[in-house]
Amino acid sequence: MPTVSVKRDLLFQALGRTFTDEEFDELCFEFGLELDEITSEKDIISREQGDQKASEASDVVLYKIDVPANRYDLLCLEGLVRGLQQLSILLPEYIRDPDQNWLSLLLSVQTASVRPHAVAAVLRNITFTPERYDSFIELQEKLHQNICRRRTLVAIGTHDLDTISGPFTYTAKAPDDIRFKPLNQNQEYSATQLMGFYKTDSHLRHYLHIIEDEPLYPVIYDSNGIVLSMPPIINGDHSKISVNTKNVFIECTATDLTKAKIVLDMIVTMFSEHCDQPFTLNGVVELAYRTETLSADYINSKVGINETAESIAQLLTRMCLKSEVTSDGAEIQVEIPPTRSDVIHACDIMEDAAMAYGFNNITRTTPRTYTVANQFPLNKLTELLRLDLATAGFTEALTFALCSQEDIADKLQKNLKDTKAVHISNPKTAEFQVARTTLLPGLLKTLAANRKMPLPLKLFEISDVVLRDESTDVGARNSRRLCAVYYNKTPGFEVIHGLLDRVMQLLEVKPGRNHGYYIQAAEDSTYFPGRCAEIFSHGKSIGRLGVLHPDVINSFELTMPCSALDIDIEPFL
């Protein structure tokens, strides 16, 4: 969820009324926003850098508001005010400037391989104040971090139009052929030099990877060959904007055209209110108004309310979706403004109607859906066995499904290749390299963490391991295992063997060769030689039991003898 920081008093001024913190919190709740924090610049600096540094800072109250991830129209003060001002009858009408005095942006084919799309617009005769200017910069940053996916999908550049002249050209060139003075620097660099230069920049280094390995870098020139920007990295210094800029040229370059249009629409619709002709826009802006027609019955039956078409139209209009009942009274026509890119289906309008009605005013009803409950058979068996294992004196452990390669291979004296493990490609630490192929390491680690507890320690777990399996669509499957360990001064093979006998008794399998179960000496590097047996039930191997190898005991930082039982319970379904 993006967080937007706004000055409280400016917000209240724009909303035309004041609220207590509680009232504002309540308003946010109803709109699906969250008043996350009430703070000030002074507070923030004092918290991060100490009181001394904060003494000069402003103590104007700031509201930090969490905004839903799809509401790009609420990422700045201007947008929040429009969204929250639910009683405003006058909705802004965004129009394209009929005066076709707009500037063209020529796209060259070279950009196709690196960043194929670009759209641009102009904010004419804008009046910035320091607050508006900050909000303008802040909005671009919020858009970059959210819908633009850290500039990978869309990058925004803003320029002082009075310092450059169209038509503009968006092209791509070899890095050594691009030379310009980047924003806030004193000298020219080639693009290749710049990429090296920004390697250590705490902010910009995160974006270098987007184009770094491309043969051609995207670049925008004006008609005099001045570099406006090298998207998505940096703008040129020549055209930089300031609080005194009157005409702003905005370009969005992108790998996703839909999102580029949304981003451009968002910036111009938000800030055109500060232009001499508010909400009148120039450029390649989509400004796509759309009309959805739906019935009152649709809204009523989906939400569970019973409102007239007129009242629903009013509810929607309050949510900035201008709505009218059609002349025959049967349907509602809803106009979706360009700011509401989140509305892509009638159900999105339905949600706005429900929000305006108030989620908490809707009557809570019980659906009459009649169904009979069933347990998943594997889970039913698991639940029953867990209870009986605890009754047999063993304590249930709960260990992680992810672990290191070492846990399932080296430490158990197995070869990783023989484990049939699935491997994770992006683990942040070694703890998440593979999904476990056996429950044993988890139980041994639990023993190790509880060496101070009185002996004997008797643990079990019934849970899933993951194995490669070509026969499934994803190439892997879970397998439900029962694993138990006995840890004491004596190995206690007879205890773990007794537990196996008890489990078989619970599963109604009698001792015996053919239709029963039996154990047979087996070689297994995890176990002490001569102290391991394979378990067969109905002629099929279902697992092993035995005394663990001293090297295995050591590798899990244990000191006492330990016996273990490890079986697959799925054959008993």
Partner: protein
């Protein structure tokens, strides 16, 4: 236990005196060591309220070994005098004709118990000469108890099979138990507290008529985990920073081809009344295998399966199982946790129905005061966060997420137009941590937990 003779003699003495008697007096009058009397007092006390004994301490003077020798044989000086033979020493060497052995006399007085006749100064002088020592004696002041009797009845410690057989228990008195002591812990196994809570949640769903989904597939394709849920391919949740991807097996195969085409179309072009996301949907992205980030991937598979039925039948599904997130870990977040999920599919379900079902579900958890906040989720619309009023914290806290699945998810599956699917989810760990007062999730889940916590965890009743 002291022998009965002593006990009865003691009781007879106590019986004779008014107001009580000191144990030292008892010792001297019975002619036994004081420690024997102390033992007898304790034995009688154990019989119940026969006597009352108040501990006292007194000081008295006693002779040291050397002092005793002097009391018996005379002081060293007197002994020298006596040792002079009849025939004598030379007159000049004998300064006195007779002596009075004062030291011996004084010591004998102490020996006879008359130390009070000596002055403090004299006693201290003898103490300095290591002939006397002052000792503190602990004794008991013994009085009759409420059940006083001069006859001893022996107390039994435990009821025995013989007593039951012979009926002798009727005549016997039994030693009282110390009810303040703890009992011996039973020798037993224990269930893990998180799993106990899981059992309760399963129970609640079963009581509400929900059928359990098969969630035993930790590995999922991005297609079922994201694409089928109308979660766009550039969504941040599909980022390397949030999701565990697999290197082996890296990709999934065998998707239902018709359905996959419909999913592709609704993402890239829209349809079913939707504008879609209008981007270039790629099969390569959908094929990527991951550790599932939510059990909703299984709900998607189940709803797709339901849509393939000849005729739609309403369903209520639930699951509680592990999900995985490649997130930054802290006191309340691990890379894996359990998700609880409920899903209802039927014709004509409303947002009010979702709130009603949630109300019933949370009532079973002992939570009756709920309110709902609009939220955003790519696959539900409307989406609601569920808040409950926490009396301890004195504020509304988020307890779950819910919503109505989007038509862009349901219609490509082939579910009939009028069918709505409502769903909600929450984590199993959070309510468990609140229930058992655990602040750090590592104290609840994983191999580092203290088994004592598991041993000591109470039964789980979520509604009380």
């Amino acid at each position: 236990m002291a022998d009965t003779g002593i006990l009865e003699s003691l009781l007879r003495l106590v019986d004779k005196v008014d107001g009580g008697i000191d144990s030292q007096v008892v010792a001297s009058s019975l002619g036994v060591d004081h420690q024997v009397v102390v033992g007898a007092v304790k034995s009688v006390q154990a019989l119940g309220e026969v006597i009352e004994a108040e501990q006292r301490s007194s000081k008295h003077w006693e002779l040291t070994g050397e002092g005793q020798e002097i009391a018996e044989q005379g002081s060293h000086e007197a002994r020298v005098f006596k040792a002079i033979p009849e025939e004598g020493l030379s007159q000049s060497q004998l300064m006195v004709e007779s002596i009075e052995d004062v030291v011996r006399k004084k010591l004998q007085q102490v020996q006879m118990g008359h130390s009070s006749q000596l002055e403090e100064k004299e006693k201290n002088e003898l103490k300095k000469r290591k002939l006397l020592t002052e000792v503190t004696v602990k004794s008991y002041w013994i009085t009759k108890g409420s059940n006083f009797s001069t006859i001893i009845t022996k107390q039994e410690t435990e009821l025995t099979p013989e007593m039951i057989a012979s009926g002798s228990w009727k005549e016997k008195k039994f030693k009282p138990y110390n009810f303040d002591a703890m009992g011996v812990a039973p020798d037993s196994g224990h269930l893990h507290p998180l799993m106990k809570v899981r059992t309760q949640f399963r129970q609640i769903f079963l009581e509400m008529g929900f059928t359990e989904m098969p969630t035993n597939n930790f590995i999922e394709s991005s297609f079922w985990n994201f694409d089928s849920l109308f979660q766009p391919q550039q969504h941040p949740a599909r980022d390397q920073h949030d999701t565990f991807f697999l290197s082996d097996p890296a990709v999934a195969h065998d998707f239902p081809q018709d359905y996959l085409e419909r999913v592709k179309k609704v993402h890239s072009e829209g349809g079913y009344g939707s504008q879609g996301y209008k981007y270039d949907w790629k099969i390569e992205e959908a094929q990527k295998n991951i550790l599932r980030t939510h059990t909703t991937a299984v709900s998607a598979r189940m709803l797709y399966k339901l849509a393939q039925q000849e005729e739609f039948t309403p369903v209520k599904y639930f699951s509680i199982d592990r999900v995985f997130r490649n997130e930054t870990l802290d006191a309340t977040h691990l890379a894996e946790f359990h998700q609880i999920e409920g899903v209802v599919a039927d014709y004509g379900l409303t947002l009010g129905d979702l709130m009603g079902v949630l109300h019933q579900f949370f009532t079973k958890l002992g939570i009756t005061k709920l309110r709902f906040k609009p939220a955003y989720n790519p696959y539900t619309e409307p989406s609601m966060e569920v808040f409950s009023y926490h009396k301890g914290l004195n504020k509304w806290v988020e307890v779950g997420n819910s919503g109505v699945f989007r038509p862009e998810m349901l219609l490509p599956m082939g579910l009939p137009e009028g069918v709505s699917v409502i769903a909600w989810g929450l984590s199993l760990e959070r309510p468990t941590m609140i229930k058992y007062g655990i602040n750090n999730i590592r104290e609840l889940v994983g191999h580092k937990v203290n088994l004592q916590m598991v041993y000591d965890s109470p039964v789980c009743r979520l509604d009380s």
